[in-house]
Symmetry: C2
Subunit: 318 residues, 2 copies
DNA sequence: TCAGCTATCGATCAAATGATCGAACAGGAG
DNA sequence: CTCCTGTTCGATCATTTGATCGATAGCTGA
């Protein structure tokens, strides 16, 4: 890997010359003694490896105003609103990921040992992907939602896995699905020694980065067959609009007590009252779910996008 | 200025789409509803206004090794070594400025009131230029070196001026030249109430960012006629190799006692023993001067470039 | 109200960038 | 020793970007 490192060095130097120094690839080529396409490749490598971090240093007035309003309204510690990108198919997922990674990095920067927990979902996954490598073997990362799918297979590339790989920290994975098949199954899981041990670690976490789920036909819970169609209908009839870690919430953010709730294996939301629970979700159609989470007072931090933020602002008449 | 702000907003959005989102100017144009050249202009504006911050996230092995060696050798709190740019006429001045601005920003980030002092010189000036705007009206900035030229004119664009403009902080300017015309003149200056008041503020500073001067025919002190040719020769004959705030240093970093020293109006170097004195200088020919400052143990932090760093490493057999 | 000026905008062109493809080279197997 | 395979490198071309210049619109002052 020495060869690779040497290449990365050169890539960093090329990136420096190009992005900070503003010189052309031709100049860089003659300076580093490689061909112009060589420089091209180096720069591509640098970007691919995440060596190049771009930061736009301007509080986009829109976003700024909205984030401030939400911050004050719900008494959050922080609220980041990233601009929307209607052109991109996945909304502003990438911006969200970058912003979230910046928040995450602030925690990780600490040199004292730290315990962090992570939920599942694309957003969380994208966040850790966007994070740059950072040597922090002293930290511990807990997955709050089982990395076991319905069929029992473990997901090698859980967010916690990637994060632990990037930092060299310890990993703790909950050996359970989000929603157990039955109440008995849930009981059995909760009584496992391993489950309890890991739950214990999760309790020590300082912050938790989680996604926010919608409750409708597009809901992950339903799509991944954790709940049946009948159960989805039950949730809808009981006015469920969102979900945190599998716990269904109504419009006011209260956890709905129903047949599904009794099978959720996640740690109770109450547990996070004295942790920094950070939600990470964007898109107008996640608006109601995010709003519910906010109204319930569950969150300490929110990273969202313009569309969801606007929905919240309008719904709350801010 | 509302118009301008609106434009800046759009510029930030365009920059975001371009640099973070990686889309082409055509796409951005159709999205923002302006022409392609319009996007071009917006991006130019964004860069010019310093909205776009690029950070290369890789410890360039060379620089890393050298900065570590220097750090350990001289017991510094930090040492940043930026890569050299032999192509650029002014060496790596811009890189140096960016790196220094990053350090400076770390101090400024604090919300509690802070007092900082600044020296003069191109490097210091370039540092504050490279800094992004940041609202910190609670901070105070003191100029350690008089902003009065030999002819009595005040320099409107002193580093402290720019810094105070950018942050909205308070400014304190030393109403004196670096080296007084005579011992009597120095005495007169030091006894001014205003001078003493400002010196008092400077004593409260937490950190000081200063340049390092060479002592030779290219020396700023000489070029700006603060010392005569005869005096320069005197300094050289007494083995002066560098200068901090106008105080000449010999090879071992000791302040040289001579006719010039008695006319220097700057605050005594001893005063900075319990402040974070950060030096900011690059280029191989500044090597001896920087080395002297290091050997004297005056510095807590150093921001330099590959060339000067290599000189130091070699001179100290590291 | 109109003339003149300035600032902004968009068409056009040169430069720089990114991508593809074929060639050369090194390493390993027969 | 030769041939094959996989990789890296550099020439070439399409696309994107940056800059210049003329035109237009809006503003100022008479």
């Amino acid at each position: 890997m020495d060869k690779f490192d040497r290449k990365l060095d050169q890539a960093a130097r090329a990136a420096w010359l190009s992005y900070v120094g503003g010189r052309t690839q031709d100049e860089i080529a003659s300076q580093l003694g490689v061909s112009r396409p060589g420089v091209q490749r180096l720069l591509a490598l640098a970007r691919q490896e995440g060596l190049v971090k771009v930061h736009i240093d301007h509080p986009l007035a829109n976003c700024m105003v909205m984030s401030d309003a939400i911050l004050k309204r719900f008494g959050l510690d922080f609220c980041d609103v990233v601009p929307a990108d209607p052109e991109a198919s996945n909304g502003s997922a990438h911006y969200l990921a970058v912003a979230a990674a910046e928040r995450l990095a602030r925690y990780l920067d600490r040199s004292e040992p730290l315990t962090l927990s992570l939920g599942t979902g694309r957003s969380v996954r994208a966040m850790v992907e966007a994070l740059s490598r950072l040597d922090r073997p002293q930290h511990r990362f807990v997955s709050l939602v089982g990395n076991v799918a319905r069929d029992g297979s473990a997901n090698r590339y859980d967010g916690v896995m990637v994060l632990a790989d990037k930092t060299g920290g310890e990993r703790f994975l909950l050996p359970a699905p989000v929603v157990a098949g039955s109440v008995e199954e849930k009981e059995a899981m909760l009584n496992q020694r391993l489950f309890q041990a890991i739950a214990e670690v999760a309790k020590e976490a300082e912050a938790a980065f989680i996604g926010v789920g919608r409750i409708d036909r597009q809901a992950t819970l339903f799509q991944d067959h954790f709940i049946s169609e009948a159960e989805l209908d039950e949730l809808l009839s009981r006015q469920a609009v969102g979900e945190l870690l599998g716990w269904p919430l109504n419009q006011n953010g209260e956890v709905i007590d129903c047949s599904i709730t009794r099978r959720v294996t996640s740690l109770p939301l109450e547990m996070f009252r004295d942790q920094a629970l950070v939600a990470l979700a964007g898109g107008r159609d996640k608006g109601p779910a995010i709003l519910a989470a906010l109204r319930g007072g569950w969150l300490k931090g929110l990273i969202t996008d313009e569309n969801a933020a606007r929905f919240i602002i309008e719904a709350e008449n801010l």
